[in-house]
């Protein structure tokens, strides 16, 4: 399982999100990079065809290789990033962690929940996954669990709602 990091509370066995989310993440990352490369390609192609002035070759090469390395690193880190996402239901609050280099652990008390949202785009749906989003009265809360299996998402929503009702504390 997820090994414990410095900021993780002691004695927490993180619940990990579904492995299929790695595939989803690969797909979305691919799309992201395709768009990035398409945008970068515009001036280059215009330069080669002579519509624009051409940039010096060394700038083109270094720029492209930096971008390429970055993309490779991004892809290589996808599985680890997904495996770094975890959540854990405590008695009074829900803990969510994410991040490899920049790590974040957020604690959302059930009593503070204003609503629990479940959403899923077309790719997520194809893999039977969804994103659970928790909202409190503070916009800063930013607590989402991406890549949860649908049934688990529904269970989480019901569970959180029920607990929230029992502990509702509004503002």
């Amino acid at each position: 399982m997820l090994h414990s990091e410095a900021i993780d509370p002691i004695g927490i066995e993180w619940q990990r999100v579904d492995e299929k989310y790695i595939t989803v993440k690969f797909i979305t990352t691919t799309f992201g990079w395709l768009i990035t490369f398409a945008i970068v390609a515009v001036p280059l192609v215009l330069g080669w065809t002579g519509v624009w002035g051409q940039l010096p070759v060394w700038i083109q090469i270094t720029g492209l290789s930096i971008l390429g390395l970055w993309a490779i690193a991004d892809f290589a880190l996808v599985p680890r990033r997904v495996r770094a996402i975890g959540y854990y239901e405590r008695e009074d609050d829900l803990l969510i962690r994410k991040g490899l280099l920049w790590q974040r652990v957020v604690a959302v008390p059930y009593g503070r929940l204003q609503y629990v949202d479940i959403e899923a785009g077309p790719i997520m749906r194809k893999f039977g996954l969804c994103t659970v989003q928790l909202k409190t009265a503070s916009a800063a809360t930013d607590a989402t669990i991406p890549g949860v299996v649908r049934s688990e998402g529904a269970r989480l929503r019901d569970e959180l709602s029920a607990r929230g009702q029992a502990r509702l504390a509004g503002l």
Partner: protein, 606 residues
């Protein structure tokens, strides 16, 4: 990857959480286009709706009336002087007789314009109506695009009464009801007669405070005393001159003649203890001299001076350069560059005016309904902030204020957002700050609050239990290292920060919505982390940056625990409805037990 949801939101489902906060607590702007209220009735409003004062559109739209002619006249200034001259010479009259068409057209256009404005104003007045029901304040407005806003009265966070200059002359006032989460979308009643507005405010505030006109559970006042030890807000409130919060208080007709009659003096017939009305207490006022001084020595002046110096240097370089390398005279160069100063000067004037206006004759009075702030130069504002609605408080001191010992106090109240209204005190001495904090913030529950406060405001290092950024992490915060820290009292979290501009932010534990702990790769090496405390949007960011990992993890655990439980205790105050109260009482006992056992564990483990 977000749009379609396989699990629709199901707002009808009573188990769904959104119900309470989402559905009717919030102000709901619903634009129904030209279809009036499709559901219940075919009329947009019936006779139960009240119209606002007929002068309202004029008061609100006077700028249009003034601006159109002014723009028209000044734009065509040359033409008008020409006409004046021709009229004087008698040429105009001849011309008019010879060829009247353009003059008639012009006059007609002017009349049509005036008529249009008049009709617009009348229609907008006719279509703006409000209605106060048992539970809601509702406002409908709009001629073509209709709007219906409603605010649940028991969710009202604060009520403001605003009087722009013209409204002041016409003795009218605007009422704003601020509701949680309603960032910038409060229900606004503009305009009512001033005394009407004041009565309405008094009534709404009382009802928002849970003092319903139907008698509540008879045991309520006893219960109040019973939990007052754990219930900081209620205790605070009783101290604040509210006597015993009593259910079953009737709102008496206002008496007296002064303009502060309406609220504080509603006699409390049912009040068991006091019997006599609790008078309004003036807590502080800001002297004009100090206000002007504070603005002159404020942050704006620093920026302005910086710009001026930059401009001076630039000019110097230009002049010397010009003298050395060209034959241009000085006036030519300065002539080019002085216009640059104009927008800066205008901006500075505006900024100064705003600051002075929002602090002019600033008085803070503690009334039954909360802290009443009055201020304003040309337009007067009266806002009422109930102590129980303050989510966080921040005391701040700019660099130039230090020699004078001045501070500014700001609060986060849900719905105020980043508004200037969140300023509780534009400038004041430490005594004023302490007094205000004592009224508006729960007791810190320490033996040496004053000392602690001073330490938080001006201190550095680890005295009195404050933390600092550990010296191994010096590189992260070379300057602010010894100021940046926190201290957790039993009731609130104090966060100290700022090297030039000193800040002390305080959040009651029970107001915390959620908390997050963050750490970057370098911070991991240095064994530090940052704690973010999430509170509703406002001027205050509660964050303990770069603190020792062990300390901050403990704090994280502690705050998460508090956020989950302690809040329920402090919620117990007169701002609740009777049935909420009942539900609440049930929970309290169990939570108190749990907290106590937690504390026992803590003391054992230490």
């Amino acid at each position: 990857m977000t749009q379609q949801s396989p699990f629709p939101h199901e707002p009808e489902d009573p188990a769904q959480l959104g119900q309470r906060e989402n559905d009717d607590a919030v102000v709901e702007p619903s634009e129904t286009g030209e279809e009036p209220d499709a559901g219940e009735s075919d009329k947009w409003f019936d006779e139960t709706w009240t119209k606002v004062h007929p002068l309202s559109p004029l008061v609100r739209g006077w700028v249009t009336i003034v601006a159109i002619p002014v723009a028209f006249f000044s734009y065509n200034w040359q033409m008008w002087t020409d006409i004046w001259r021709t009229w004087r010479s008698g040429e105009l009259a001849d011309n008019l007789q010879a060829n009247p068409t353009p003059y008639l057209l012009g006059g007609g256009a002017f009349l049509v314009l005036a008529l249009l404005i008049f009709v617009g104003f009348t229609l907008s007045w006719w279509f703006t109506r409000y209605k106060i029901t048992e539970e809601h304040v509702m406002v409908k407005s709009g001629i073509f695009i209709r709007q219906h806003r409603q605010a649940r009265i028991d969710r009202v966070q604060a009520v403001d009464l605003r009087q722009p200059l013209l409204a002041r002359i016409a003795k009218l006032a605007e009422l704003r009801f601020e509701v949680a989460e309603g960032d910038g979308t409060a229900a606004t009643l503009a305009f009512l007669r001033k005394h009407e507005a004041e009565d309405l405010r008094a009534e709404i505030m009382d009802r928002a405070a849970g003092e319903s006109e139907t008698p509540g559970p008879g045991a309520a006042p006893d219960a109040e005393r019973g939990v007052s030890e754990v219930s900081t807000q209620a205790g605070e409130y009783a101290d604040a001159g509210a006597a015993e919060p009593a259910y079953g208080v009737r709102i008496a007709p206002p008496e007296g003649t002064a303009d502060q009659t309406t609220q504080g003096q509603a006699p409390q017939e049912a009040a068991p203890a006091a019997g006599s009305p609790s008078p309004d207490r003036e807590i502080l006022r800001v002297p004009v001299g100090r206000l002007i001084g504070s603005v002159l020595f404020g942050g704006g002046t620093l920026v302005f001076l910086g710009l001026l110096i930059a401009w001076g240097i630039f000019m110097g370089v230009m002049i010397i350069g010009g003298a050395l390398f060209t034959d241009d005279t000085m006036s030519e160069i300065t002539g080019v560059n002085i216009p640059v100063l104009v927008p800066i000067l205008i901006a500075a004037a505006f900024s100064y005016y705003n600051q002075i206006s929002s602090g002019w004759k600033f008085t803070a009075t503690m009334t039954k309904a909360g802290l009443r702030l009055r201020y304003g130069l040309l337009e007067t504002n009266t806002q009422t902030v109930p102590p129980g609605r303050v989510q966080a408080l921040q005391i701040q001191q700019g660099l130039l204020w230090r020699p004078f010992g001045w501070y500014r106090v700001q609060v986060t109240v849900a719905g105020y957002g980043l508004d200037a209204r969140s300023t509780l005190l534009p400038v004041g001495k430490q005594v004023d700050v302490m007094q205000l904090t004592a009224e508006m913030f729960p007791d810190l529950k320490v033996d040496n609050p004053e000392e602690l406060f001073t330490e938080g405001l001006r201190g550095r290092g680890t005295r009195l239990g404050f933390t600092e950024v550990p010296s191994r992490a010096r590189i992260f915060d070379p300057l602010v290292r010894r100021r940046r820290g926190f201290f957790a009292t039993p009731s609130a979290l104090m966060l100290r920060d700022g090297w030039t501009t000193r800040r002390l932010s305080m959040v009651p534990h029970e107001r915390i919505q959620s908390a997050s702990l963050e750490q970057g790769p370098l911070a991991r090496k240095a064994k530090i982390a940052t704690l973010n405390i999430h509170i509703p949007a406002g001027p205050i960011t509660a964050r303990a940056k770069n603190q020792d990992i062990e300390l901050i993890k403990d704090l994280f655990e502690q705050e998460a625990g508090y956020a989950a439980t302690a809040r329920r205790l402090a919620d117990r105050n007169q701002w609740m409805k009777p049935e909420e109260l009942h539900e609440f009482e049930k929970n309290v006992a169990e939570v108190v037990e749990k907290l106590e056992s937690d504390q026992l564990e803590d003391t054992r483990s230490n």
